[in-house]
């Protein structure tokens, strides 16, 4: 089912165009790395604040307002370029172990963020300016930082197997 979708995708004119072009793939790959770098960097700023390692004197809500638009903008760019790279050779990536691990890690990072913003964030007004945050917030920061570092490592690994 998924494999059939992959085979269909790589034979669409979009998938074929990216796969056959000499320059489209490297250009998309460069844009993907730049976008992912901005995602990881801006998320790390927030994560290290949640962990209490950096910017302990800044309000969490203020730092979130500062970093989140950049994180989301860059994530959208990384997701679009990532999908286009995938489309060029979908069934190959579907079978690639580092790629599969990366997708699972992205799901984990997303679930962690969703839980943080839906549940933990509700009480933010009580710990917004605290240097040491509640354990749930610190845990969210640790999981986020860890999963995004692994996303980069497994992403780089995709090309080496």
């Amino acid at each position: 089912m998924i494999l059939e979708f992959c085979q269909w995708l790589e034979h669409t004119s979009l998938g074929v165009a990216i796969g056959e072009s000499l320059w489209l793939f490297p250009i998309l790959e460069s844009l993907h790395v730049i976008a992912l770098a901005v995602v990881v960097g801006s998320i790390a700023m927030m994560d290290l604040r949640l962990l209490g390692a950096l910017a302990r004197d800044r309000a969490v809500t203020e730092l979130a307002a500062e970093t989140l638009p950049l994180t989301w903008g860059a994530f959208a760019a990384a997701a679009i370029t990532g999908f286009l790279l995938f489309a060029s050779n979908a069934s190959y990536y579907y079978d690639n172990t580092p790629f599969r691990v990366k997708i699972v890690l992205l799901g984990l990072a997303g679930a962690n963020m969703l839980y943080f913003h839906r549940a933990t964030w509700r009480t933010v007004s009580t710990w917004d300016r605290a240097a040491q945050l509640p354990i749930a917030a610190r845990l969210a920061g640790a999981v986020s930082l860890g999963t995004w570092i692994l996303v980069v490592i497994f992403g780089r690994w995709i090309g080496f197997v």
């Binding site: 490297p26 790959e29 460069s30 844009l31 790395v33 730049i34 992912l36 770098a37 901005v38 995602v39 990881v40 960097g41 801006s42 998320i43 790390a44 700023m45 910017a55 203020e62 307002a65 500062e66 970093t67 638009p69 950049l70 860059a74 570092i149 980069v152 490592i153 992403g155 780089r156 690994w157 080496f160």
Partner: protein
């Protein structure tokens, strides 16, 4: 990029580097290069996240509650730390594959752009740290020279990252 007369020097340096025991280790250990590249990309993240936030703030976008000066004090350590880790991991990647990398024209262009980008960042750091007559360090608007440097450095960081990925394709 670099004139032909220098190619012989690059070749000599590359030959010497590739014979060092560090280079031999990096060539032999199969996971060494992907690991160094992962560190390189993570360090690029620290630099890029900070450079974009600071750059957008300096050109006048209200991306932060902080004025340009105080925001720069917060973000410049991310840029310098990122650069140090990029230089370390990048240096080791050159030691691992000196023949391929030193003679690569995209690599040479990348190093040249890197020098200009570092210069622009040093200039930004100096300009935002010294308050002018109007106490610009804490005013919401960065000075025109800082704005121009911000645009230049952002364009260069993007071009440098682009060149980095393209090295493998030329």
């Amino acid at each position: 990029m670099i004139v032909a007369a220098n190619i012989a020097d690059f070749q000599g340096l590359a030959d010497w580097l590739s014979a060092t025991s560090l280079s031999v280790v990096l060539q032999t250990v199969t996971w060494a290069i992907p690991s160094l590249q992962s560190v390189h990309i993570l360090a690029l993240g620290a630099l890029m996240g900070a450079a974009w936030l600071l750059g957008l703030r300096l050109v006048g976008m209200k991306v932060s509650a902080l004025a340009p000066g105080p925001l720069a004090s917060r973000l410049l350590p991310w840029i310098w730390t990122g650069l140090a880790l990029l230089a370390l991991s990048g240096g080791l990647l050159i030691v691992a594959e000196p023949g391929e990398l030193l003679s690569n024209s995209v690599m040479q262009l990348k190093l040249l752009m890197l020098l200009v980008a570092i210069g622009a960042t040093v200039a930004i750091a100096r300009l935002v740290s010294v308050p002018d007559a109007a106490g610009a360090r804490h005013t919401p608007q960065a000075r025109p020279a800082v704005r121009a440097l911000a645009v230049l450095s952002l364009a260069l960081w993007v071009a440098i990252a682009f060149a980095g990925r393209l090295i493998a394709y030329v």
